[in-house]
């Protein structure tokens, strides 16, 4: 089975701060890590490969330093790393990113199964997985908590819901985005780390993947961030005091006033 896992390098949320003036993420001195949800997608891809055979290719769009997370993925069992990197990709929104990744998946020879994390912890949109499936015209399921069964041309999964889960069967090739409950990612192995150190990371430019200039980067992005701000807390707040009985009495009185 040919598996592509999409991963993103993100600032470590544990240490991230907002720049008070611009309200954007202050990345200075903040360590970059593999997006935590993507670690679960990678683990699922690698353990699926161990079960049914095949190859795991990890794919990332990002600046040259995103090569680090691809090496980390190889240390965790991926076979190959591909970095899609070009100044022309800068400023891409989720639409342009989905397009770019779709072109990259085609450029590496396609995939029977594409795995993504549910969302990235920096943008938190959860749009790129479904967007990529749309661009490739593939079926997809988001928030997968378990792969129940996989055959040559179909896959059966559990989609996490608020009150339980759905069982969904979909034909391959397909795309899944996964939640953290799906597995416990392994720690990179010693042999994996040694392999990762020597591995050659393939770097593909916009031209290499045949991306059209008007569809990528800022130009290809129908959405733009107009303003980032922390909303002012609004609404009236009142704190009741006294014994629990007294507080409840006050609350009931308050509610009655609205009725």
């Amino acid at each position: 089975m040919n598996i592509v896992v999409c991963i993103k390098q993100v600032p470590d949320a544990k240490n991230v701060r907002l720049d008070p003036k611009t309200n954007t993420l202050s990345r200075e001195g903040v360590e970059s890590i593999m997006n935590p949800f993507d670690r679960h997608a990678l683990e699922e891809g690698v353990s699926l490969k161990e079960k049914v055979g095949g190859k795991v290719t990890v794919l990332s769009m990002g600046p040259p330093q995103a090569e680090d997370v691809l090496r980390e993925a190889i240390a965790c069992g991926a076979d190959e790393g591909v970095l899609v990197s070009d100044r022309a990709f800068a400023g891409a929104d989720t639409w342009a990113t989905s397009y770019t990744l779709a072109k990259a998946v085609e450029a590496v020879g396609g995939a029977d199964l594409i795995l993504c994390g549910k969302q990235a912890i920096d943008g938190d949109t959860a749009q790129v997985g479904p967007g990529l499936a749309f661009q490739l015209n593939r079926p997809y399921v988001t928030c997968v908590q378990k792969i129940r069964d996989v055959s040559e041309n179909a896959i059966q999964v559990e989609r996490m819901m608020d009150d339980g889960y759905d069982v969904v069967q979909l034909p391959l090739p397909a795309l899944l985005t996964v939640v953290k409950d799906i597995n416990e990612p392994r720690v990179p192995s010693l042999k994996g780390k040694m392999k990762a150190k020597k591995a050659e990371i393939k770097v593909l430019s916009a031209a290499d993947i045949g991306a059209e200039a008007e569809c990528i980067g800022l130009t290809g992005s129908p959405t733009q961030v107009a303003k980032v701000f922390s909303p002012e807390p609004h609404g009236e707040r009142r704190v009741f005091s006294g014994s629990p009985e007294e507080q409840i009495e006050q609350l009931v009185k308050e509610i009655r006033g609205y009725l």
């Binding site: 720690v187 990179p188 192995s189 010693l190």
Partner: protein, 382 residues
């Protein structure tokens, strides 16, 4: 402090630390409370290739030495000495095969042990043979093409969980220790079973159990090395393995220091963090001095052993004594720095203090280690 580790050695240390942080620390309190063997964590350790560290490359290992093993053990012990003990006992079980086994025997056992798909244990101690290892009563008699073993081993780490056991038995009881031989007994061999499971004060994530051999029949070729060489191989094994126990002390001491220092910065009394009081600072300083001194001694000894010298007993015993006495003191002081909170199970240092005690006892009590050092000194100054 920079110990000028090679890139590969640093990689081993980092991998073990990642395992500690991601797989061990989140589960250690529960394993301790439930007295539960950490099988899943050992599988994670296997997946990360740590079981292969000291197995030679020709048998599927990484071909590392004592220092590489010590680095991994230190970081695992920082997470939990119970888990690290299971991992260390596996190494102890393999060492006799590495030291005294034939090429065929190594080919048979080492690849699966390097993979971590099978685990090993070492069966020396008996009810009447602890510090006096020569008091072993288990016997092995050759009957046709098979050895027949009879006896009971006590307090065997990984007992009932490992698949491969190296067992010391007397093949010529009249000759005493010169009549002892080492054998490989496998899980499932006829006449081999497991007895009492121990309920321990500390290292509760490790399994400690009796091994019972009742007319246990094993093929002739399970003898490790030559007949009568068992005791020498055991002594050589312990010389190489003791720095491993010492490194458990270093990892544990470091973990206790980390907990105590973080706490001392946060805990406010008399309107100040308690780390600002000299009484607490001096305790932390002494802890840090002891941990670093032990680490230096352990790394230095491990490097010495990796040059395959003849005189390794003294250094090996010295680092075991120093680092494990240190761990007992430093964990006790960590509880003291943290006061009432340190004594409670919500914080990890009370477990660390319980875990520390065994380090002064197993793999040769610290009194026996001092005997070894004393005897060597007696020879040196002859």
């Amino acid at each position: 402090m920079d110990y000028f580790l090679t890139e590969e050695q640093q990689m081993i240390k980092d991998t073990a630390r990642e395992l500690s942080e991601e797989k061990i620390i989140p589960k250690r309190a529960e394993l301790d409370e439930k007295n539960e063997f950490a099988a899943d964590i050992l599988k994670d350790i296997a997946k990360a290739d740590l079981f292969s560290i000291f197995v030679p490359e020709e048998y599927g290992g990484l071909g590392g030495g004592c220092l590489e093993s010590v680095l991994a053990l230190e970081e695992l012990a920082r997470g939990c000495v119970g888990v690290a003990t299971s991992f260390a006992a596996n190494g102890l079980g393999i060492l006799p095969v590495l030291i005294g086994g034939s090429k065929e025997m190594k080919e048979k056992y080492l690849p699966s042990l390097a993979e971590g798909s099978r685990w090993a244990a070492f069966g020396l101690t008996e009810a009447g043979a602890g510090s006096d290892a020569a008091g072993v009563k288990t016997t092995a008699v050759l009957d046709g093409d098979e050895w027949v073993l009879n006896g009971t081993k006590q307090w065997i780490t990984n007992g009932g969980e490992a698949q491969i056991y190296t067992i010391l038995a007397l093949t010529n009881p009249e000759k005493g220790v010169r009549g002892a031989s080492l054998f490989v007994v496998e899980d499932g061999d006829p006449g081999f079973s497991y007895g009492k499971k121990e309920d321990k004060m500390g290292i509760r994530a490790s399994a400690t159990r009796e091994l019972i051999m009742k007319d246990c029949r094993i093929p002739k070729d399970r003898l490790i090395g030559r007949k009568g060489t068992g005791f020498i191989t055991v002594m050589k094994t312990l010389d190489v393995s003791r720095p491993g126990i010492a490194s458990l002390g270093v990892g544990l001491g470091q973990a206790a220091l980390d907990e105590a220092a973080v706490y001392a910065k946060q805990r406010v009394q008399f309107d100040k963090p308690i780390i600002s009081f000299q009484a607490v600072q001096h305790m932390l300083a002494d802890m840090a001095i002891q941990v670093e001194a032990a680490r230096s001694l352990v790394y230095g000894t491990a490097k010495h052993i990796d040059t395959h010298p003849k005189d390794m007993s003294k250094g090996s015993a010295m680092c075991k004594v120093f680092a494990t006495d240190m761990a007992m003191k430093v964990t006790t002081d960590a509880v003291q720095v943290m006061g009432g909170y340190g004594y409670m199970k919500e914080y990890p240092v009370e477990k660390m203090m319980r875990d520390a005690k065994i380090l002064q006892i197993y793999e040769g009590t610290n009194q026996i280690q001092r005997n070894v050092i004393g005897q060597e000194l007696n020879k040196e100054y002859a």
